[in-house]
Every structure is written in C-alpha cells, then in structure tokens.
C-alpha cells in the first residue's frame, strides 16, 4: 500500500476504518480512527460487552540471544529475570536522571527470545536509545512495520477469542501470552490491554490483519462488539487510571513520581537511571501523580493549573468526562505533601477555580468475569 494516498502513515487496516466511516486523524505520524460512531457509545461497548481496536501503530522490537536478558536488565526498570516463557510485564526505559524514556510491555517468548511493545510516538527514539546501549551476543530488530496489532477488550473478549482461536488462548491468565493459528495465520495472543477491562491483544502479520479483523467483527457483533477508536481508548485508560506517555510520563518525570514503583526493582542490580531513582527514593519524590474527580462541574484538560490554598501548585496531565462514572475526572502532578493529605484542591478552568477531590487508587475497579 502506498503512503501517498493518506495524510499520515496508514495501518494495514486503513481501508476497514474508511469502510466503517471512521473519523481519521494523524496520531504520532499514523493515520488512525479517532471514532467510528461516538466515543461514548464505544466506551460503553468496551465496559459492557466488547470493543475491537486497531493498535498497529504501536512499535514492536525483538531481542534474542544468550545476552538478551542481561541487556534488558540494564535497559529496563522492572526485573526481567522474573519472567518465565509466555509471560509479560509492564516495565520502563529510564534515562540517567531517572526520567521516563518510554513505558513498555516486555514479553519473554522463549528462553532467549523477548518481545517489547513501545509507544508509537517513541519508536525511533527507543530504537536509537536501545541500539546505543546493546552489547554482547544479542540480536535486536525493529519489527514495527511487519507487525499488526488488534486489541479485543471487554467482558465478552474471552468469548470472542474462544470463537476465533479456541480454548488455549482463551484460557490465558492476565499477562500471559501464547501463539495460536487461525486460518493458517500465526497470531501471538496476549491477555493484556489498556482499558481496565479484561481483554486480549493479538500480534500478527499485517497481510493477514484485515481478514482477522473481519472474522473478529463477525464473531463479535452478535455479542455487542463495536470498533473503538483512539478517543474511546484515551477515555478508557484514564478511567482505569493508566498513565499515557507524553501526558503523565515524560523524560523529566520519574516512574516513582508517576506512582509506578511496582515496575521499578531497585534491588535487581544496575540499570540506567537506577542511581537517580535510588536517591529519589531516599529523599522522596518532589512531585506525585494524583487522580482526582471534580466536585464542581467542569472538564479538566491537560495543562490546566492545579491550585491549593491560593497558590498554583501543579498541573493537569489528562482529563475527561468519564461516561462510566458520570463524572469529570483527571490526573495531574502536585507536590508530594499535598498528594498525601490535601483537601481543597482546585483546577483552573478558563480562569475559574473549580473544586476537585483526590481519589485514592483507581477510579473504577473491574473484576474478571
């Protein structure tokens, strides 16, 4: 497919999106659907039934060889040595200052084979960052252009995957992965997602992606499946309290400040950023990411100032009206002391201060059915 016909890089599913009447936008240089029908109905489908997403813009890297693990341990904050074959973990690439270069998912496919999924906007940056730091017997390849990614998310995702590919992938536990063949196509199934719902992500050959997309939509529609775009994806991840690179995570912000210490294993041995993160753990983070809901109406948006006691103390990183909760919610950074105890936070929305309340933990919790 030529790229000339589109304002940005098309995914293998671009013709499907057009046929479905999607509204398309340039996201990180990719031509992607922001919504098909309505963001609110797409969110509802994912929360109550099942949604299907084209995530082929995401980047994928492969690592293999006897020194793959040692290299990944030096590059990443989480402990890759804890991964058994067929397992995945959330982990981060940090710089020497402890700032986040990217947040990624790492899979161990077999003894010496690893698969890393990175944010679309960071593919080139991450590739260069990693290549500069690799040593020893490790083969590294950027597989982004040869990999399509389809996500199936929601309480009926398991039923869809079972209809498509049978029991084995449908029985995966969270953060497990396996390969299975569908109509002769090898697919890597992973029980992961970015919506706060149960769900799967399917990595496959781009040439096979349109046929598998069609199969999934055909199987899913009787179960209430809707195709869902980037708008729904952003609202769903915010409702689930997940950070987004570029909003909550940047090279100036540490994973400790972002509340991701579960993915930072300072005791595992040396890795890039460890010294800075050890110091930050000793001294305490200056800022802390908080989740909040508005107690006065108003939609908080990225960049809006957060006030406390007559002073501007922080800023909003993400915000939206949550259709699931029926409230305006957001995330943002405030000084550590305020994150622990503060009442009386306010968000400045078009020059007016509107009251907000810190929410501990996630906005919504979902149990697997």
């Amino acid at each position: 497919m030529t790229n000339d016909a589109f304002p940005a890089k098309p995914t293998p599913l671009v013709q499907r999106h057009q046929a479905l009447g999607a509204r398309m936008i340039d996201f990180a240089g990719f031509w992607l659907p922001v919504q098909y029908t309505s963001v609110l109905s797409e969110c509802r489908a994912v929360r109550e039934a099942v949604g299907i997403f084209d995530l082929s813009h995401m980047g994928e890297f492969s690592f293999s060889g006897p020194d793959a693990l040692a290299n990944l341990q030096r590059l990443l904050t989480n402990d890759a040595a804890r991964l058994g074959p067929g397992r995945a973990q959330y982990t981060l690439l940090c710089n020497e200052k402890g700032g986040v270069v990217d947040d990624v998912i790492l899979y161990r496919l077999s003894d010496e084979e690893y698969w890393m999924v990175v944010n679309a906007a960071n593919i080139e940056k991450d590739r260069a960052w990693i290549q500069e730091r690799l040593s020893g017997r490790v083969a590294f390849h950027d597989r982004s252009d040869e990999t399509a990614l389809i996500a199936v998310q929601g309480p009926r995702a398991e039923a869809c995957v079972k209809l498509l590919a049978g029991e084995e992938p449908a029985r995966l536990q969270p953060f497990q992965a396996c390969t299975a063949r569908v109509d002769g196509v090898e697919i890597l199934f992973s029980r992961t997602g970015y919506t706060g719902e149960d769900g799967f992500e399917l990595y496959l050959d781009p040439a096979a992606a349109p046929a598998i997309w069609d199969r999934l939509l055909g199987l899913g529609q009787p179960l209430g499946m809707l195709p869902a775009g980037l708008g729904a994806r952003d609202t769903l991840r915010l409702e689930a309290g997940f950070p987004l690179y570029g909003n909550e995570l940047t090279e100036e912000i540490s994973p400790l400040a972002a509340g991701l210490s579960f993915a930072v294993k300072l005791e595992k041995g040396d890795f890039t950023g460890r010294d800075a993160l050890l110091r930050e753990r000793e001294r305490g983070s200056r800022l802390k990411l908080v989740r909040f809901e508005m107690t006065e109406r108003g939609v908080p948006r990225s960049g809006y100032p957060i006030w406390h006691d007559g002073a501007q103390v922080g800023w909003v990183t993400s915000g939206a009206f949550s259709p699931t909760l029926g409230k305006d919610i957001g995330m943002g950074y405030v000084p550590l002391a305020l994150a622990e105890t503060a009442t009386g936070l306010e968000v400045e929305i078009r020059g007016k201060l509107k009251k907000a309340r810190i929410v501990k933990g996630r906005f919504l919790r979902r149990e697997r059915a």
Binding site: V34, V39, V299, D328
Partner: protein, 127 residues
C-alpha cells in the same frame, strides 16, 4: 440538516428570530457532528452583555473545547439550563432542545446580516 428559516455564522452557530429583537442561538448539526459527543456546556448568565464575535459560552465534547461566539451585539435574556444536566441535547436536537441562549439584539438588523441557509450550506460544502 440546514433549516431554511434560520440564519447562520461561519463559526457554525445558528440564529432564530423570535419577536422583533430576540435571537435564539445554538450550534448547527454540522458543528455537533464535527465535535462529537458533547459532555459539558459552560453557559453565560442572564443579563451578561455579549459582543458580536466574542465568546459567550463553551461547548466541550469528549475531545475538544470549543468557544461559542455571539453572532450579534446584545444581552443574554435566557440560557438553556437543561444543558447543565443533559449536554447531549446539543447532539440529539441541535436546532431544538439543544439551543444555548436567547439574546436580545441591540440592533435587530444584525439578524439579516447573518448567512442564509443557502450561504451556510455553501460554507460547509453541502451546496
């Protein structure tokens, strides 16, 4: 979806003449469709002065914040309080229950200066 009896602005507001000097104002079907699901409307207060081309309300959709510009000089007489709890009325019925404000025009001739339905259709490429 561009009713004949209304007047329009290039910024996708519509006006309906009521009585001799009142204009009911909302956003067009085209505008609501471009915005997507409306989740919040920041309304002015009755009595507020408005200036032609000045922002007097804000409509927030899931992804975008959009200023609503007054087509005329005048004074807000009434606002659509139903939008506080049901902002989706703008999507469902943009020319009816989704109206935003009733404005008393300083000079009723301002109504006639707005785009006609045919001109607005041409503006949005539906002519």
């Amino acid at each position: 979806m561009v009713p004949e009896e209304l007047r329009y602005t290039k910024e996708h507001e519509w006006l309906r003449l009521e009585g001799s000097n009142l204009a009911r104002v909302g956003i067009t079907h085209y505008a609501q469709s471009e915005l997507g699901d409306v989740v919040y409307v920041d309304l002015p207060e009755p009595g507020d002065r408005v200036k032609a081309g000045g922002s007097f309300a804000v409509v927030e959709s899931v992804k975008a914040v959009s200023d609503i510009y007054s087509p005329v000089d005048g004074r807000i007489v009434e606002v659509n309080k139903d939008l506080e709890n049901r902002p989706e009325l703008i999507n469902e019925d943009p020319y009816g229950q989704g109206w935003i404000a009733l404005i008393e025009m300083d000079d009723p001739r301002a109504f006639e200066e707005q785009l006609t339905a045919a001109e607005y259709r041409e503006h949005i490429g539906e002519a």
